[in-house]
């Protein structure tokens, strides 16, 4: 009896220690998040100014320079990437969830997309360099957009597939019973039911490509002036951050922090928004 009690005490102590360690791990995870975000906010706030958005780059040391060129370049590249990536992803996801839902090829492509989501983004950059930049002989904003589109297609495709599969099959049957052909059922019933989910998938994909740097390094490359010609090298916020942070000038570092702040806030807002939409839509 006595040893059993002692044994029980020991097990309880082990229990508390283990659970305490789990709590500590959770606190550590939260600590890193707060540490990083606070650091970005602290440095970012100090460097925010109207000039950051309104001025273009000036030679280092002169002061008063901004990142207008990088903001506009980033916007254009992302926009073109979305125009290519969203339709492809949504249509592909539609095939996997509807026409190809029982085919082996469909399942194979679905698995392949999951793997493709994890392909290192820099490898996508080298690929676009090989098939696009090298043949045309110069860096190009379109190449950067293409690289980002390739990265976002599997993301949009997989979320679209999952969201469409959540639409109850009976809804389709009701429409079939009225004599509607399959494509009309998809366009008018399925898409309507899955719209919020697909939209969320697009949001998360935007968040994913907004912070990508590696695939732009040798596709859209970078430059220091404002351009809207996407057929030449184009500045982007992320590549500019890399260049400025690695450079020796203090005002470059300040601007890099400003750009980091903007990108981080944008991505956090979009990500949290996406999660909230899913929460509201699918929890109730």
């Amino acid at each position: 009896m006595y040893t059993a009690k002692k044994e029980f005490k020991k097990r309880q102590i082990v229990n508390y220690i283990a659970l305490f360690i789990a709590c500590a791990a959770a606190a550590l995870g939260l600590f890193w998040l707060v540490f990083i975000l606070a650091d970005v906010v602290r440095h970012g706030m100090a460097s925010l100014s109207p000039e950051l958005f309104l001025n273009e780059a000036v030679p280092p040391g002169m002061g008063g320079g901004g990142l207008k060129h990088a903001f506009i370049g980033q916007l254009l590249i992302t926009l073109v990437a979305l125009i290519i990536g969203i339709p492809l992803g949504v249509l592909g996801g539609t095939y996997l969830a509807e026409y190809g839902r029982n085919s082996a090829l469909g399942r194979f492509i679905s698995t392949l997309s999951d793997i493709m989501i994890s392909v290192p983004s820099i490898v996508i950059g080298t690929f676009v360099y090989a098939v696009f930049v090298k043949p045309i002989g110069h860096f190009s904003g379109y190449a950067g957009a293409l690289a980002l589109a390739i990265i976002m297609v599997p993301v949009v495709l997989r979320t679209t597939e999952e969201m469409i599969l959540l639409v109850p099959w009976e809804l389709r049957e009701a429409a079939f019973a009225l004599g509607a052909p399959y494509y009309k059922v998809i366009l008018q019933v399925v898409y309507r039911g899955a719209a919020t989910g697909i939209f969320t998938g697009v949001l998360l994909a935007i968040a994913r490509i907004a912070g990508e740097t590696a695939p732009l390094l040798f596709t859209s490359f970078n430059n220091m002036f404002l351009t809207t010609n996407m057929n030449e090298s184009m500045p982007s916020l992320t590549v500019t951050i890399y260049q400025y942070a690695m450079g020796p000038y203090d005002d470059w570092h300040t601007m890099a922090w400003g750009a980091s702040f903007i990108i981080t806030m944008f991505i956090l807002v979009v990500t949290v928004m996406g999660r909230l939409i899913i929460h509201w839509k699918y929890k109730n």
């Binding site: 082990v14 283990a18 659970l19 789990a22 392949l112 495709l157 981080t264 956090l268």
Partner: protein
Amino acid sequence: MSVTMKREQWLDKSFCAITFGAAFLVLVIIVSIFISLFQESLLAIETFGFFDFVTGTQWDPVREIFGAATTLYGTLVTTLLALIMAVPVAMGIAIFITELCPAFLRPIFGTAIELLAAIPSIIYGMWGLFTFAPLMGEYVEPVLQNIFEPIPIIGHLFTGVPLGIDILTTSIVLSIMIIPFIASIVRDTFTQTPLQLKESAYGIGATRWEVVKDVMIPHAKTGILGSIIIAMGRALGETMAVAFVLGNKHSIATSLFDASATITVTLANEFTEADSDLYLSSLFYLALILLGMNFLLLALAKTFLAHKRNKV
């Protein structure tokens, strides 16, 4: 009637074909990535072969001798160290969320951890370079050196001048980046543990930790393994964060305080500077090796995770 029927049928077939084309494009892209990277690295493959390239420790653009051993070594060492540091923390987080966290806090805390995955790697790089590396170099690493350097054998790991731009800092930053991937998959598999199993364990007097250790972890082990492999793939391919804090030095480093280079950092730094065909081709060869490793790992993880899903 039949005319509209025909038209509808035709429209339906075209819509099916369009969606199929979009889905099939994923396959086409993956295949063409492999083919084009292989084509571009053909020159390097013919010059160095596979075995000599992978074991070659020289990376000398001037004499045009390229070997991948140093970058492969840097990639694998940082990834392995990051995993060693990330797995226990991520497991702790998963246990906390499923077993200890009050229900109303669960989604908030879960989202907070997943935000760690949403922060782009260039931000990790900025933070690592300007805030974390100086902290490591000034405060943490000298203390570690004082404690561990006198100890034989493992003392070697702590030699050199601690500057903060080194393997240790990189591994810690990488570990923070992969924690959310492991934590969220493990959490999902934990929550799939059948309630009857847990209840019967509690029923015979098991403590909460014993339920976690003897019921939930064994039940989730394929999921855990799968998540670790996915995280490994992430760490292997991570570029920007590593580019900021690893120092890009082509050598086999034996101390945690040495700078090193990974495949990704080498690509990021040298791709646009490669001035000869062989140089560029060797870089493509590195990219191909990275892609191959990543693809194999992810396929492996998929089979683990699919296996688990079938069983439930």
